[in-house]
Every structure is written in structure tokens, then in C-alpha cells.
């Protein structure tokens, strides 16, 4: 049965067509991936379905009947449920309270917590979604928070579950758990729509894939009949090299040295513990780790955005531990921050104003900003780094995530830096842009720059880094030149690789 059918759905925002005559069929009981670059219109399409937007044209058929969904309440009533990328949970309430909020079981006009707990427990047992029913959201892991979101939707008796980029925030192990859950849900007859831009996930979990590009459907294929290469081509519209070509590099002197760096938090807890890193000219050193294990703190310490508790940071032979950010930048630090919207860009500024962020001094004469120079420079950087926009006067919040990131990277790599601190450089960016960013980082390596790459993406680290250090709970737990993917995944999750397994993995490395 076709549980959902989109017929010629068109959604416009002003002159911009976000969904262009979309035809799409979702079958009952399947896991259907919506694959596409950022800004391809995946989330817009789902928001049309969920009643958050009203499409200008076209019809949606639900269970083979035409259906007008104009608000989320109606969507929920019709058995739709959405698990958003950014969780919609209230930190200070317990898991049960979050799940029942808005649909509380009542007894004498008061919330019947006992019954609520029982109901939640029942659903969670039923679907093997383990959650602690009385724990506050702020005290549970991200993976568990996501399970709460799923329970919330199931509690409202959803038959069709929409997941918007659900793996973006999870550890590799949590991703596996999620996939088990998805299979479980499918086995119970639920229909799942899975929005993603990751090829590997699509291949792993889906029955069918629909690829969107620039608001249009490029095609729907059975997962078993396709390959990552073909999907990438459909997504980007050209051949994409999934593996980067890395040339041998000539490694030179130490550029950045971090010595015995420690950092304590507000409650005297150790955030970073005796970190030692050295990065030489012409090499990329990777820091692998699941988000929240001290990478952000390390990034901020090196950039001068946070005072270190003890230890030293040396750049080009100079102790910069107590030197402010602005001067570090002048001495050759470039920084691609992990959170581009919080740190890297001012979203209300236009492109030209963002391109001078951090190098505002070099574009000033007698205290006045040199508009002409800035615009010319901005144009050059945007051309070189393929930032697509309508005009230089566009504000940054009008750009797609990928273009925003290319703007940041373009800005940071154009200043002829000596040391590049690249934190999560491809977070939330699609394949086409990832390839581009990777090539640019390798280009910098070829130019003998020293690069510290902090990333949670295993593929990225394995293909780019010359050496990898694994960080877990603020400590470097392992450093080697080569890892297998499984080994890295286990180390990132804080697990020791078992002895027997180690041998097997090394064996495999040798055979590779």
C-alpha cells in the first residue's frame, strides 16, 4: 500500500523554489531514505507533510486518500510523528514528563503520574527502547534523549515516523543502537522516513532511496540495486571522488606544541588532562573523539578563547599560552571553529563584513574600513572557494550550511596562515562540499602548513590525517599512525580494544 503519496508538491519562499513539483511515494512498512545535499529541500518537504508549511501547489495522499494537513496537531492525529535533529525536550523535566507533555493521562483533573509511568514503561519495553523513566533529561546521554523523542512519538500512536538527520549527534555505537531500533520499528509495521546526507547510512538502513537535488526529485531507487558512487553522483550531479588522493608530504619543524595542557571546569572537574600534541610543518594531525570529550575545550585553549589551568602552548617557538586571540591570529593562527554560527560567522552581517572577521585590521586605513578593497577581496575568496550566493550584500543566514562553511574555510585559508586549527570542518556539510573542503585542507598540507584536525568523522580522519590521537574524557588515550575503523570507533567510545581482537585487527591492517 502507498501510505503516503506526494503529487506535484511545490513550495516557494519568495522567488526561491524549495520544492519543485515533487512526486514521491512512500510504501507502508518500508524505511525510505530522503538523500540530498544541504538545501536540497528534504526538510522542507517533510515540513509540508507535517503541516508546518502549506505548499503552493500539489496534493498529499495519506493512506490513498487526499488529505490536507495544515497544522502539526492534525499531522499527529493522522499518525505522523517527527523526530527533529535538534531535540525538542525540556531539560529540567523527567523523561516521563517529557513524553506525556500535552497528552497527560488524567485522574480527578490531575496528572496521573503512576499511569503515565506505566504507559511509558510498556512502550519502552515493547520496542526495546531503554530509558530511565524518572531521570531528568539533563542527566541522560544524547542517545537516550533521542530514544525519549522516539517514545514521545510512539506514545502519540504514530504509524509513520520521520527522522531528520538523526545520526548527526550520535556516537558510532549509538548509531548502531538507533539502527537496531529502526529495524525493530519496521518489523512492527511502522513506516520510516529517514532524512540524511550521509551515503553510508543510506546504504546500511534503507529499503529505498529518493535523491533530491535543488528542490527536485532526481530519482528513487531500491537500495539493493545501487551503490554509494551512484548515489553521490545523483546527489551532486557529477562524479564525486569518495576517497581523496593524498600525496606524500615533506614534514618539517614543529609549528605547534601543546605541553602538559590541563584544564579544570567550574566544579573543579578535569576537562583536559595532560594533553601533549606536536604538529610539524606539512602534516595533518587528527584528534578523534565523540563530541563532548574535551575537543571543544582543546580547540578553545589553542585559539586563546579559554584560559588554560596549567601547561604551555608554543607556536613557532614562541610561548603563546597567555597571548590573546587577536595576537595569535596575527602570528599565523587560522581557526575553523567547530560551531560556525556561534563563533565563525555573524549571521546578521553580509558576506563582506564576515570575510574580514578576524582580519579587520588588515582592511583598515586611518580607522576606516576600506570598502572597495574588502569587496574585491571578498569576491576573490568566494570565487576561489566556490561560495554560492546572490550578492555580496546577502546576509549570511541566507546561505545554506555548506556555503556558510565554505565561506569560513575560505576566509581562514586565505590569510596565509602558519598553523590551521580545523575543528569539525565538515560538520553538517554535504558530500560535494566535503570533497571540496578536504581537497583544500590537503592543498594547505602540500604548502607546508601545519594542521590540527579535530573531527568526529572517522572517514575524514582516516583519509586526511597523517597521525591520529584519540581523545576520551579529556585525555589522549591512544596515538598511532594507522587505525582501522572499528578500532578507532571502540577507542572513541572509551573501550579498550580486547587483546584477541587487537591481533585480528592488526592482521587485517597488514593485509590492507
Amino acid at each position: 500500500m502507498n501510505i503516503i503519496e506526494f503529487r506535484s508538491i511545490t513550495k516557494k519562499f519568495g522567488d526561491f523554489i524549495a520544492n519543485d513539483k515533487i512526486d514521491l511515494i512512500i510504501k507502508k512498512g518500508e524505511i525510505h531514505c530522503l538523500l540530498g545535499e544541504n538545501g536540497a529541500g528534504k526538510t522542507t518537504l517533510m515540513n509540508n507533510l507535517f503541516g508546518l508549511y502549506n505548499p503552493e501547489e500539489g496534493e498529499i495522499f495519506l493512506r490513498e486518500k487526499p488529505c490536507k494537513i495544515d497544522n502539526p496537531h492534525k499531522a499527529i492525529e493522522l499518525g505522523l510523528g517527527m523526530i527533529h535533529q535538534h531535540f525538542m525536550l525540556i531539560d529540567r523535566l523527567t523523561t516521563t514528563e517529557n513524553i506525556i507533555a500535552g497528552e497527560e493521562p488524567l485522574k480527578n483533573g490531575l496528572v496521573d503520574m503512576k499511569k503515565a509511568r506505566e504507559q511509558v514503561k510498556q512502550i519502552s519495553d515493547n520496542y526495546h527502547l531503554a530509558v530511565k523513566t524518572d531521570e531528568k533529561i539533563e542527566n541522560i546521554s544524547v542517545g537516550e534523549q533521542q530514544r525519549v523523542e522516539i517514545l514521545k512519538v510512539l506514545y502519540r500512536k504514530a504509524e509513520i515516523l520521520i527522522f531528520d538527520e538523526p545520526t548527526a549527534v550520535l556516537t558510532p555505537q549509538e548509531v548502531n543502537d538507533l539502527f537496531t531500533t529502526l529495524k525493530e520499528l519496521k518489523a512492527r509495521g511502522k513506516t520510516i522516513i529517514f532524512i540524511t546526507h550521509k551515503l553510508e547510512e543510506t546504504m546500511n538502513i534503507s529499503d529505498r532511496v529518493t535523491v533530491l537535488r535543488k528542490g527536485k526529485v532526481i530519482g528513487t531507487v531500491n537500495t539493493c540495486d545501487t551503490s554509494p558512487k551512484e548515489l553521490a553522483r545523483m546527489m551532486v550531479g557529477r562524479e564525486v571522488l569518495l576517497n581523496v588522493n593524498k600525496e606524500k608530504c615533506n614534514i618539517g619543524d614543529n609549528v605547534l606544541e601543546v605541553k602538559d595542557l590541563s584544564l579544570t571546569g567550574k566544579h573543579n572537574n578535569l576537562l583536559l588532562k595532560n594533553i601533549n600534541i606536536s604538529i610539524r610543518k606539512g602534516e595533518i594531525v587528527g584528534i578523534a573523539g565523540v563530541s563532548g570529550n574535551g575537543q571543544l575545550e582543546l580547540e578553545e585553549c589553542i585559539a586563546g578563547l579559554r584560559k588554560v589551568t596549567s601547561g604551555t602552548i608554543i607556536m613557532n617557538g614562541e610561548d603563546i599560552t597567555h597571548i590573546p586571540t587577536g595576537i595569535r591570529r596575527k602570528r599565523g593562527l587560522s581557526h575553523i571553529p567547530s560551531d560556525r554560527l556561534k563563533r565563525g560567522l555573524v549571521s546578521s552581517y553580509d558576506l563582506a563584513k564576515n570575510i574580514i572577521l578576524g582580519n579587520q585590521d588588515s582592511f583598515t586605513k586611518n580607522g576606516f574600513l576600506q570598502k572597495k578593497d574588502i569587496n574585491e577581496y571578498c569576491k576573490k575568496v568566494m570565487e576561489k572557494f566556490d561560495v554560492r550566493c546572490q550578492s555580496l550584500n546577502d546576509t549570511v543566514d541566507n546561505l545554506s550550511g555548506g556555503n556558510q562553511q565554505k565561506l569560513v574555510i575560505g576566509r581562514e585559508l586565505s590569510t596565509d596562515p602558519k598553523f590551521i586549527l580545523a575543528a569539525q570542518p565538515t560538520r553538517g556539510v554535504d558530500v560535494g562540499a566535503i570533497e571540496f573542503i578536504h581537497n583544500n585542507l590537503l592543498e594547505m598540507r602540500k604548502k607546508n602548513k601545519a594542521i590540527l584536525l579535530i573531527s568526529a568523522e572517522l572517514e575524514e580522519l582516516l583519509s586526511l590525517a597523517d597521525r591520529i590521537l584519540v581523545i576520551y574524557e579529556g585525555e589522549i588515550v591512544s596515538k598511532k599512525n594507522k587505525y582501522t575503523k572499528e578500532e578507532l570507533g571502540l577507542l572513541m567510545a572509551g573501550k579498550k580494544v580486547p587483546k584477541g581482537k587487537m591481533k585480528e585487527l592488526e592482521e587485517r591492517l597488514r593485509n590492507d
Binding site: G326, Q360, L369
Partner: protein, 341 residues
């Protein structure tokens, strides 16, 4: 059409807010048992009816330009400077005292000199809240409000203790002729202060659009984390923007003393510093927007007095209309819905 709308979006919203405020205001006037037509015609007449009334409107507009700008400047760095009133009192007091004691200087030196002294006095008064914010995180809204009380009372105290003229009225002696701003129209209170106000608008506009320092201050206001990432010292920028803000508020006091009162009198202000907040909100914190908003509020204040005198409609209704304007400006979604229909 849509393009024109987009470009002047802010202006159209503000205008709609004003129209709505007058509509709702007319209902209130009617419900209070007064004639709406009589009320609004008295208001209009009082504000623009003849040259004298118009100059009165300008006289009320000028301090509002300065205090509105002051709030807008603070806001650029993300700070809410509610201390305009106190900073204005300090500015007025310092200008008056300096002008009286430096009466031997010729006008072309004395006028700019005492203007700057007035501005600096305002700066000193806003420095402290800025410094406390940067050093300790003390919220500027609380500290600037407290500095208002201190400022108003300390000038009164100093006046009564050391500088009062020999009469029962709590005021200084007149400042010398050479320190007074020339009148534009004889016997009116419209003086050269209007040019000073417009000059300051231009300077502030250029400062934020074109200079590096303006860029840095705005970056702190728009996104403090990004500013720190870019190596901008956000604490320093906050203190600086508070000081510039206080300087402009100080000019409000200086021009009142030099152009209108010709002396310092306790409690001289009908709340220009506070109305400045509303002016900045209506002007969307843009220098030229502030000019337009200050003129509206100046007209309401002037016209309101005529309305009370001749139509016997209480001045308070004007304050209600002022409040309604702000309410509608602060509720853009409401206006968006109305305009889209």
C-alpha cells in the same frame, strides 16, 4: 512593489504602528468622553499649528535625538543603557558650571569646550556601569538605573551646597551670553542645537557603517562569541560603547543648558532620558530612524500640552498614545499579519 516594501520594511512597520496607535488612542479618547476630532486637532495645532508651536516641537525633539541615539549606541554593543537621564543631568550640570567659571573665554572657544565638557561628564557617568559589566558581569540595566538616581540627586546636592544663585529657586546663575547657542528664529527656543544634533547623527551613522571601531563594537553586539573568536576584546568594546553612549546623552543636557534654560535647574527634565528608550525602539536603533522617532515624540509632547490647555483633555492620554506606539512596534508579528492581508 515587493522590493520597495522589502527595502523600507522597517519604516513601513513603524509607520503602521503609529497609525494603529492613533486609532486605538481615538477609541480611548472617545470612551473617556472627549471628542476625538477636537483632541487630535488640538494636538496637531499644538505641535505644528504656527511657527512658535513648531519651534516648541523642535525644542522638545532635540534632547530626544541625543537620548535616543545614546540608547541606540549602547544597543549596538548589546547593552541596554537606561541611564540616559542621569548622564544627561551630569552633562547639563558640568556644562553650566564650566560655562559660568570660564566666562572669560570667547564664544568660539567656549561653546565647543563646554559642549565637550558636558559630553565627557555623561561619559564618566556611563563608564562605571560599563566597567562593572565588563569586570564583574553586573547587569547594566540595574546599574544604570541606580546611576540615574545618584546622578539626579548628586547634581541637586552640589547645586544647593556650592553653586546656587542667591534666590529661593534651586538654580545656578545664568551662563554667560558667549556660551549660549544662537537662536535660529528670534525669541524662540529653536537654536543651533538642531545642527549639532544632526551633525552627531551623521557622525554616529558613519562611525558604525565605516569605521573599524564601529565594526568591532557592532560585532560584539551581534555575536559576542564570534567577536572573541575574531580577537576583538569584547569587554573593552562594551565599556567604550557605554562611554560614547554616555557622551551623547551628556550632550542632551549640555544643549538644553546652552540653548533653552541658560542655567542648570534641578529637576529640569520631563524624562527625556527615559523617553529616549522609546525613541530608540521606534527608530529601530538606526541613527536616522532616531531622528524621525524623536520628532514624533517631541510633537506628541508639545501638542499634548496644548491639548490639555485648550481642549481640556488630560496630557496622560498622550502618554498612552506614546505607549501604544511602542507596544505596536514591539509586536511586529501583529503588524505583519495586518499588512499581509
Amino acid at each position: 512593489m515587493i522590493k520597495i516594501f522589502k527595502k523600507h520594511e522597517n519604516f513601513i512597520y513603524s509607520l503602521t504602528a503609529i497609525v494603529l496607535a492613533f486609532l486605538v488612542g481615538s477609541v480611548l479618547i472617545h470612551l473617556s468622553g472627549f471628542s476625538v476630532i477636537k483632541a487630535y486637532s488640538a494636538l496637531f495645532d499644538g505641535a505644528f499649528g504656527n511657527v512658535f508651536n513648531l519651534t516648541q516641537t523642535f525644542m522638545n525633539t532635540i534632547p530626544l535625538i541625543f537620548t535616543g541615539l545614546a540608547v541606540a549606541i549602547g544597543f549596538k554593543s548589546g547593552l541596554f543603557n537606561i541611564g540616559g537621564e542621569g548622564q544627561m543631568y551630569l552633562g547639563a550640570f558640568a556644562t553650566a558650571i564650566a560655562a559660568i567659571y570660564l566666562n572669560f573665554l570667547p564664544g568660539y572657544i567656549l561653546i565647543p569646550l563646554v559642549l565637550i565638557i558636558g559630553g565627557l561628564a555623561g561619559s564618566i557617568w556611563s563608564f562605571l556601569p560599563g566597567y562593572l559589566k565588563a569586570k564583574t558581569g553586573a547587569h547594566e540595566v540595574v546599574t544604570t538605573i541606580m546611576m540615574n538616581y545618584i546622578g539626579i540627586l548628586i547634581t541637586s546636592y552640589l547645586l544647593l551646597k556650592y553653586f546656587k544663585e542667591n534666590s529661593p529657586i534651586p538654580q545656578t546663575v545664568l551662563i554667560p551670553e558667549s556660551a549660549r547657542l544662537p537662536e535660529l528664529i528670534e525669541y524662540s527656543r529653536l537654536t543651533w542645537a538642531i545642527f549639532i544634533a544632526i551633525f552627531v547623527i551623521i557622525i554616529i551613522d558613519i562611525f558604525f557603517k565605516r569605521t573599524k571601531l564601529g565594526y568591532k563594537i557592532q560585532t560584539v553586539g551581534e555575536n559576542r562569541s564570534a567577536a572573541e573568536y575574531a580577537g576583538i576584546n569584547s569587554n573593552k568594546m562594551m565599556v567604550l560603547s557605554m562611554m560614547i553612549s554616555g557622551f551623547v546623552a551628556g550632550l542632551a543636557g549640555a544643549t538644553i543648558v546652552m540653548g533653552v534654560l541658560h542655567r542648570f535647574i534641578t529637576n529640569f527634565s520631563p524624562g527625556y532620558g527615559f523617553t529616549g528608550i522609546a525613541v530608540a525602539v521606534l527608530g529601530k536603533n538606526k541613527p536616522w530612524g532616531v531622528l524621525f522617532a524623536a520628532f514624533l515624540f517631541g510633537a506628541l509632547q508639545t501638542g499634548g500640552i496644548t491639548m490639555q490647555l485648550f481642549a481640556k483633555i488630560p496630557m496622560d492620554l498622550m502618554v498612552v498614545i506614546q505607549g501604544l506606539v511602542i507596544l505596536f512596534v514591539a509586536a511586529p508579528i501583529l503588524i505583519k499579519k495586518l499588512l499581509r492581508k
